[in-house]
Structures are given as structure tokens and as C-alpha cells.
């Protein structure tokens, strides 16, 4: 049974100039106990997708349509397992207890005038009230799980470094033993030595808690290190889904191929890398047919007018591409 089944999710921003279709028909599954990576460049909609999943989209954005079926998470919600159609109250109970969220740049959102301990306890008490002494012991345990000394509990955010703050955020996110953790760009803006530590912390946390993780990142090497499967997004849609090894060593979609071939690697034989020519389209000026066709060297006639459907071209491997359909059928 899947943990999440996302079906045709659309998040649009309504403006005077028309709709910005930031997430435009996204479909994929999240399996229990996996690390699922969502990759894509700026503007592809990956962060908005996550906000949509968590019902954190604010006007002028809105969820235009879609379903997020999660039977394992919505057990107590009276037979209705579509997270998007639960009442606000019912969903609030799921958010943070079953699904926790580490937003982009969250380490900078710690309250500067509260001790670390109090901030985490605050979050716990909202969902699971408990006596303060119990909560304090719980916090000490959480800090140790992420490799921080329990003394950190009594410190203020300005006394911590970037990496420590990020680990505090991770500790807070696992306070209620969630079934799913969604981390949006957890390593961006961190020094590379700290990035490694944060990623290893996430992996240890996953093992200890036996949970599922979704990592959103534009940084492909991060996915290579921790993801089991990868979803590649472009201009609001899914281009390819597959096992991490397949995506990196045998990418099908021309966009994925371009992305993989553009990654500089340390120690590798030095040959000229090629970027992908052109730029991603703005969500208000999307090209007809396949959104990637203006930049694609494999573009065929159909690509200019017909949007390719996401197809399971091999077991577990999904691609939205006419050329792939032709070549790999």
C-alpha cells in the first residue's frame, strides 16, 4: 500500500493577467519507508507542490484540483482518505503528527528570544499536551537523536551555528514521531561540510523512526546520496520518475539527460560540460505541447502541439515524452 497517492495536483495563482499554472497536473506515489527525491530547477513548482500537499498554499494561490489519497495517514478521518478534502481541523491533526515539514530556510525562522527547548516544547504542546518535565526529557532525547548535546536545549538560536540550527529544526520535526517528513531544500545555504552532516542526520533519523522522507532539492548530488527514487519536475509537471540508479546512469527524458550531463564531478576526467540551451518558461507563458520542446534536441512534430502523457514505460519508470515513447516502446 502506498503512503501517498498524488493524483493530478494543480496549484494555480490567479492574477489579473491570467492564471500562473505553477503546479499543473502532477501525479506520483510515495511508498512507505522510502526516501523520495523531488528534483527540478527554479520555477519548476516543486516547493509549491509541497505547499499544496500540506495545504499551506495562500491566496492568490489555490489548489485548483487534485487528490492526495493517504489511507495510512487518514485512518481516523471517518472513511475519507483524500487529504485535500478533509476538514481543516481533521487535517491539522495529521499535519505535524503524521506529516512534518521542514520548509526552506526554516533554520532562520527560530524565535530569537526563546530558548531552543521552549520552542520545541511549544510545538509539541499544540498537538500532544504533556507535563513540562516530560516534554523537557523528550526534547533532550530528540536533540541527542540529531547528534546535539542536550545542553543545546537551554541555548538561544543566536548561540548556534547554521548546521546546529538546522539540526534543531530536524529535531523539532520528529518530536511527534511522524510517519512522513517533508524537507524542502534542507542543505541549501549551508557549508558543504555541514551539508553532509545534515544529510547523514536525516538518514539516521529515518532509520530510528522508521519513517518516509520526501526531499525537495535542486541539488542533484544530494539526491544521488540519499534518495531511493527520484521525481523530476519541469515547468509545473513531472517529466520522469524512477529508481535513483536508473535516473543517474540511464536517464530517459531529454531534460533528465541534460540535467545529469551538466553536473560537474570532483576527480572526474575533465571534458566540456554542456548546459541546456534556453530557459524554463514562465508559468504564465507556457509553450503548447510539451513544455520542454523549445529546448529539446530530440523534439519531434508531435512535441510542438500535443502534451505527452506520463507513461509507465518500464516497471516503476515513468516518462512524459513522445520521443521516449517512440524509442522505448
Amino acid at each position: 500500500m502506498n503512503l501517498l497517492e498524488i493524483r493530478d495536483m494543480r496549484v494555480y495563482y490567479r492574477t489579473t493577467r491570467g492564471d500562473y499554472r505553477v503546479v499543473d497536473g502532477v501525479t506520483f506515489d510515495v511508498k512507505p519507508d522510502e526516501v523520495l527525491g523531488i528534483a527540478g530547477e527554479s520555477g519548476c513548482g516543486k516547493s509549491t507542490l509541497v505547499e499544496g500537499l500540506l495545504r499551506l498554499v495562500v491566496p492568490p494561490g489555490h489548489i485548483e484540483s487534485g487528490e492526495v489519497v493517504a489511507p495510512l495517514l487518514a485512518k481516523d478521518a471517518g472513511g475519507n482518505s483524500d487529504l485535500l478534502s478533509l476538514s481543516e481541523e481533521e487535517f491539522r491533526r495529521i499535519r505535524w503528527q503524521q506529516i512534518s515539514y521542514i520548509p526552506q530556510g526554516s533554520m532562520n525562522s527560530l524565535n530569537p528570544v526563546m530558548k531552543i527547548e521552549d520552542q520545541i516544547i511549544d510545538a509539541i504542546q499544540v498537538h500532544q499536551p504533556m507535563p513540562k518535565a516530560v516534554a523537557q526529557r523528550h526534547v533532550a532525547g530528540l536533540l541527542q537523536t540529531v547528534g546535539l548535546s542536550p545542553e543545546v536545549a537551554k541555548l538561544y538560536p543566536h548561540e548556534l551555528s547554521g548546521g546546529m540550527k538546522q539540526r534543531v529544526i530536524i529535531a523539532a520535526s520528529i518530536a511527534l514521531k511522524p510517519r512522513l517528513i517533508i524537507a524542502d531544500e534542507p542543505t541549501t545555504a549551508l557549508d558543504v561540510t555541514i551539508q553532509k552532516m545534515v544529510l547523514q542526520t536525516l538518514m539516521r533519523v529515518k532509520e530510528q523512526l522508521d519513517c518516509t522522507i520526501i526531499v525537495v532539492s535542486h541539488d542533484m548530488p544530494v539526491h544521488a546520496q540519499i534518495a531511493d527514487r527520484l521525481v523530476i519536475m519541469y515547468a509545473g509537471q513531472v517529466m520522469e520518475i524512477g529508481e535513483i540508479d536508473d535516473i543517474f546512469n540511464d536517464p530517459f527524458h531529454p531534460y533528465t539527460q541534460g540535467l545529469i550531463s551538466t553536473i560537474p564531478a570532483l576527480g572526474r576526467e575533465r571534458t566540456r560540460l554542456h548546459g541546456i540551451p534556453g530557459v524554463s518558461p514562465s508559468p504564465s507563458e507556457l509553450p503548447p505541447g510539451c513544455r520542454f520542446h523549445p529546448r529539446c534536441e530530440k523534439a519531434m512534430t508531435a512535441c510542438h502541439s500535443v502534451e505527452p502523457a506520463l507513461r509507465e514505460i518500464r516497471p516503476g519508470r515513468f516518462v512524459a515524452c513522445h520521443w521516449c515513447d517512440e524509442m522505448l516502446r
Binding site: E41, S42, G147, S161, G162, G163, M164, D191, V192, T193, I194, Q195, K196, M197, L199, Q200, T201, M203, R204, H218, D219, M220, P221, V222, A224, Q225, A227, I244, D245, F248, N249, G258, L259, I260, T262, I263, P264, A265, L266, G267, R270, R272, L273, H274, G275, I276, P277, V279, S280
Partner: protein, 328 residues
């Protein structure tokens, strides 16, 4: 052949004074006796790698004249930049150009993008009229693989980050500087657009002899450029030399940690978790001038000697230098 180095950083030290709230003034030593140089007889790409607090941006700003050294000298073609006459200084500012990290902040949003190119042409009297000016602009844009009709007439917000950074390179193309200071120029642009920018830097070196000091925290990007590398840690150089030599055989304990932290983009080459508790691996910026080696508090191989005085940069031969008592 003139062997005066193009650029010499000679024992550069920069101390910032900060007010520490109600406790009075403190000092932050951003750079502590940094020395390196670029040769004068061949164009060189030098990558400066360091994490936050390493001082790499302070070096860039010092070279550009935006920071005054606390001690030490910066010499361009043998001349101390702080002792240049106005004419020499103007010449220096033309011969040393910069590309900053933020493709959004560099442009005045009220002007069309080509204005940055027009300003250069007009200030340095490079053309005889509007017709030639437009020709020069088009040539510069093509040199950085942009199509003039996609760029001219647009405002900065209508272009992508990658395009904006390349317009900065077009500006450099017009100026033909001897040296480009590039401070994290690709960190804020999409991965698929980075290679084009980096290739232009490589082409500029090959075709026009432009040297470049490329500042980055991303070692893989620096490796792609090749050339020389300088690794900075908390204001000091810990290791330097040929990029391939240093990356394949890092000697300084900090360099080794740094290189091991770069995530290999290959799922078949994953980090192994040894299960050991993760030490607090960050170096806190200290407010006092450090005695001894800058890395000693984190170094697993620290010896008593490391607390006494900072290790000098030792030449290991084969274009490889390291500042570490392990190799004394």
C-alpha cells in the same frame, strides 16, 4: 619575458572591528597573513575555495579596492594598488573586472539590460556612433552565446539569472580586462545554466588571455575549471597548488574533510555511515586573533606544536603547498 606577477597578494591581513552589544568592541580577523600570486606571463584560472567565514569575499573586495587592508599589500603588475595615482587607478579598475554572485541585485531595474553595455562603451569612448555601438553590443552578446534579439530591449526581470550573469560577461568581453574576479558567480543560477557560464570563462582565458580568480564554496565547479586552487580556512591559506594535484591528494586535514564532504553525483558511490557520533564540525568564527594553527581545535591529528604558532606554507614540490606541521 617580463616575469612580474600579474597580481600579488602579500601577507594580507584584514581585521574588522565589531561592536559586541553592551560589552564593547570586539575584533574579527577575516584575513590573517594571506599570500599568493598570479603569474604575469600566462593567463591563469585560480579557484579560491572556502566555507563561510573563510575570508574569500574579503580578499575579492580587497583586490577591487572596496576594503582597505589592515596590513600587507596588494600589487598589480608590481605596483601597490593603494599607492596608485588617479590615472593608474582608473587603468587598474578597467583591467580588473568583477562578476558578483547575485544576478538580481547588480542591475538597476528601471533601465533596459543593454544599458550596462552602453555605459561601458560610452565611458571608455569605444565607439564612433550609435550604429557602431549597437554592433559592438551585438557582438558582445553573441560572444557569450546570447541571441541579441532575445536580450536587447528587455528589462532585467525579464531575463533568467543565467542570462543576467552572461550579460555581465558580455560587459567583460567589451572591456577585455586582464583579470576577472568572480565571486560565486554561478551559485544563484540553475544547474543547467551553469556550464554555459563556466565555459565562457574558459573561452575568455583561451581566446583573450584573461586570468580569473574564481571564488566558490562548490569544489566540483572549481575542479571543472582546472588551473590553480587555494583553500582558505578562517582567514588563512591551508593548502594551495595545481587543482588536479591538490584534489587527488589533499594533505591538510581540513582539505581532506572538505573534499570528502562533496557529495559524489553517483548513487553507486554513496557515503558510508560509520555510525560514529557526529562531532560538531563547524568552526566558530572567533573574535580573538588565533594563536597557532587555525584548525587545531577540530583537527584529529593536532600536536602540541600546533598551538604555538601558525604553520608556514611549505612547498611539497609538484605545484603543491600546505600549511601543516605534519609535513614539516
Amino acid at each position: 619575458m617580463d616575469t612580474t606577477p600579474l597580481l600579488e597578494i602579500d601577507n594580507l591581513t584584514k581585521i574588522f572591528t565589531t561592536s559586541r552589544g553592551i560589552f564593547g568592541q570586539g575584533e574579527v580577523c577575516a584575513l590573517d597573513g594571506v599570500s599568493f600570486s598570479l603569474p604575469g606571463d600566462r593567463p591563469t584560472l585560480l579557484t579560491m575555495v572556502g566555507e563561510s567565514g573563510s575570508g574569500k569575499t574579503t580578499i575579492a573586495r580587497s583586490i577591487l579596492g572596496l576594503e582597505r587592508p589592515s596590513s600587507g599589500e596588494i600589487r598589480y603588475k608590481g605596483k601597490n594598488i593603494r599607492k596608485m595615482k588617479p590615472r593608474e587607478w582608473e587603468d587598474y579598475r578597467r583591467q580588473v573586472q568583477v562578476v558578483f554572485q547575485d544576478p538580481y541585485g547588480t542591475y538597476n531595474p528601471f533601465y533596459k539590460i543593454e544599458r550596462v553595455l552602453q555605459v561601458v562603451i560610452r565611458k571608455f569612448h569605444m565607439s564612433t556612433g550609435k550604429g557602431q555601438e549597437m554592433e559592438m553590443i551585438e557582438e558582445a552578446l553573441k560572444a557569450v552565446e546570447l541571441r541579441p534579439k532575445d536580450i536587447i530591449g528587455r528589462y532585467p526581470h525579464q531575463l533568467s539569472g543565467g542570462e543576467r550573469q552572461r550579460v555581465m560577461l558580455a560587459r567583460i568581453y567589451l572591456l577585455r580586462p586582464q583579470l576577472i574576479i568572480a565571486d560565486e558567480p554561478v551559485s544563484m543560477i540553475d544547474v543547467s545554466l551553469r556550464a554555459t557560464f563556466l565555459n565562457i570563462l574558459l573561452n575568455f582565458k583561451q581566446d583573450y588571455g584573461m586570468s580569473c580568480i574564481f571564488i566558490t564554496h562548490d569544489l566540483a565547479v572549481g575542479f571543472y575549471l582546472g588551473g590553480q586552487i587555494v583553500i582558505l580556512c578562517q582567514g588563512r591559506i591551508v593548502e594551495a597548488g595545481n587543482m588536479d594535484v591538490v584534489v587527488r591528494d589533499p594533505r591538510h586535514p581540513y582539505s581532506q574533510v572538505l573534499i570528502a564532504s562533496v557529495p559524489p553525483p553517483n548513487p553507486r558511490n554513496r557515503w558510508q555511515d560509520d555510525g560514529r557520533p557526529m562531532k560538531y564540525g563547524e568552526l566558530r568564527r572567533s573574535a580573538d586573533l588565533i594563536r597557532g594553527c587555525i584548525y587545531r581545535s577540530r583537527c584529529p591529528q593536532a600536536m602540541p606544536r600546533c598551538s604555538e604558532a601558525p604553520p608556514p606554507l611549505i612547498d611539497l614540490g609538484d605545484d603543491h603547498q600546505v600549511a601543516c606541521y605534519l609535513y614539516h
